[in-house]
Symmetry: none
Subunit: 274 residues, 2 copies
């Protein structure tokens, strides 16, 4: 055996695989070829599965792992599981570590939020179904009046929606709770309500949505995946799972979803006028 150091990254792994695969005996070559074409399966398969798919014995596959420079299959699998896990790091643990090292500098925190934001955006891209979004936009584009409800940490999202609708001359009311006025009289049958709330769900939003549903309004909900009460009132639910940093979240995903929706509604209305 010539090489001793194990590849530590995906790049090194591929390079190693390429260098190695000349002049390999039959079964080992089978392994190399199979892996080259199914690299992604390493993370989620067992030796037995992979070797069977490659048409070799488990022991042959083990020898292949060792030739690649790893002590065995588990060590090789590790780099693939970690590469995968990098995209979904465990924030609870990472914060724990950050605190442990005493590193609560503002820029370390910023890095956390940036990373959390990026993750939320990636989640969003894969979790929002085009159909559900399309339905929500269709409902809102047809609304004579849009009511926006979102308090506490959902309020920034609500206010940005309100800003966007104003810019595009779309009739919308932001229910902001100023003066503790009861806003219900403004909600009429046929209007549509955008309700934004996350656990712990704010009572005002739920009540407003429930009331509106009662008088025959459609509800578009921006909420989280877990047990949102808005699911129970037959709302069109857009689920966003934001990644928290400590007790706060960056809202990146939620705001992106909201603004996309607003712009899509604007475009839909413009089209309808022509």
């Amino acid at each position: 055996m010539i090489e001793q150091t194990a590849p530590a990254t995906l790049e090194e792994f591929n390079q190693r695989l390429a260098e190695m695969s000349d002049g390999l005996p039959k079964r080992l070559r089978q392994c190399a070829e199979f892996i080259a074409q199914n690299t992604d399966r390493i993370a989620v398969s067992t030796v037995a599965e992979l070797s069977r798919s490659a048409g070799v014995q488990p022991s042959a596959f083990m020898r292949f792992c060792q030739l690649m420079g790893f002590s065995g299959f588990s060590e090789m699998q590790k780099i693939f599981r970690e590469t995968y896990a990098q995209k979904w790091p465990d924030y609870a643990t990472r914060l724990e570590n950050l605190r442990a090292t005493g590193d609560d500098s503002p820029s370390a925190l910023l890095a956390e939020f940036v990373e959390a934001g990026r993750l939320s955006l990636e989640n969003l891209a894969s979790s929002i179904s085009p159909e559900v979004l399309e339905d929500a936009v269709a409902i809102l584009a047809a609304a004579p009046m849009i009511h926006i409800a979102g308090f506490r940490r959902a309020f920034p999202v609500a206010s940005y929606l309100s800003y966007a609708f104003e810019k595009m001359d779309i009739p919308a009311v932001l229910h902001d709770g100023v003066g503790k006025l009861n806003p219900r009289h403004a909600i009429r049958k046929g209007d549509v309500v955008i309700a934004i709330t996350f656990a712990p769900y704010s009572q005002e939003t739920i009540e407003l949505a429930t009331y509106a549903r009662g008088v025959g309004c459609e509800i578009v909900a921006i909420t989280d995946t877990m047990s949102s009460p808005l699911r129970k009132i037959d709302a069109q639910v857009l689920a966003v799972s934001e990644v928290d940093v400590g007790a706060f979240r960056a809202l990146s995903g939620t705001i992106s979803l909201a603004i996309s929706m607003a712009v899509a509604i604007g475009a839909r209305r413009d089209a309808a006028l022509q």
Copy 2:
């Protein structure tokens, strides 16, 4: 226990998770919440790893799997390992797919905003200097009172800051322009103003900041790189360059910066009390 059929797809899984998570005892709720936010790690982790990250015992985690309708963890893991292969052509491709559904479809727009948000966050991470941020945090942590000014599209950021400060018991006032009252009388020497504005710069924010500077307040500005008027009044400037999509922007970078700053200030104050 009422016997339920196990979810067979990701959608069914999420649905099940949502309907289940009401009235769950503590540990099982911890499992549910952890899994809701870390669904993708199921494929590449062991029960021991997941339960440790969720802060529960392996046996609790097993009970959770069974409540979800599976015979055990392995059966649950199976559906994630099987769908893994389809997810691997990952983020780039998913965005591609989202875009492919049509040029002005809501999901294509969403893809644009997601991408813009990611770019902004990357920019932010590399363009904010740790020293400047540190200075801003130091100034704000020492302030007897923080005034927050941000209107129009900066208002969501301002309101989120206000929310965060309230949560952490930090004295702060959001100058929101309700009732067009003149807020200046509330600004006293020694207070600090956070001014948030982007081109085209809103007059109210500039005026407020200028006035405050005049009476001896320090100013922390969140603004864009180009020739912001706030640079002229000797403010501590944090520059964010957001990427626009059409006439709108996703605000991801700005909000992430703001919330990190707020949390850092909170930590600094807590430390000072001990």
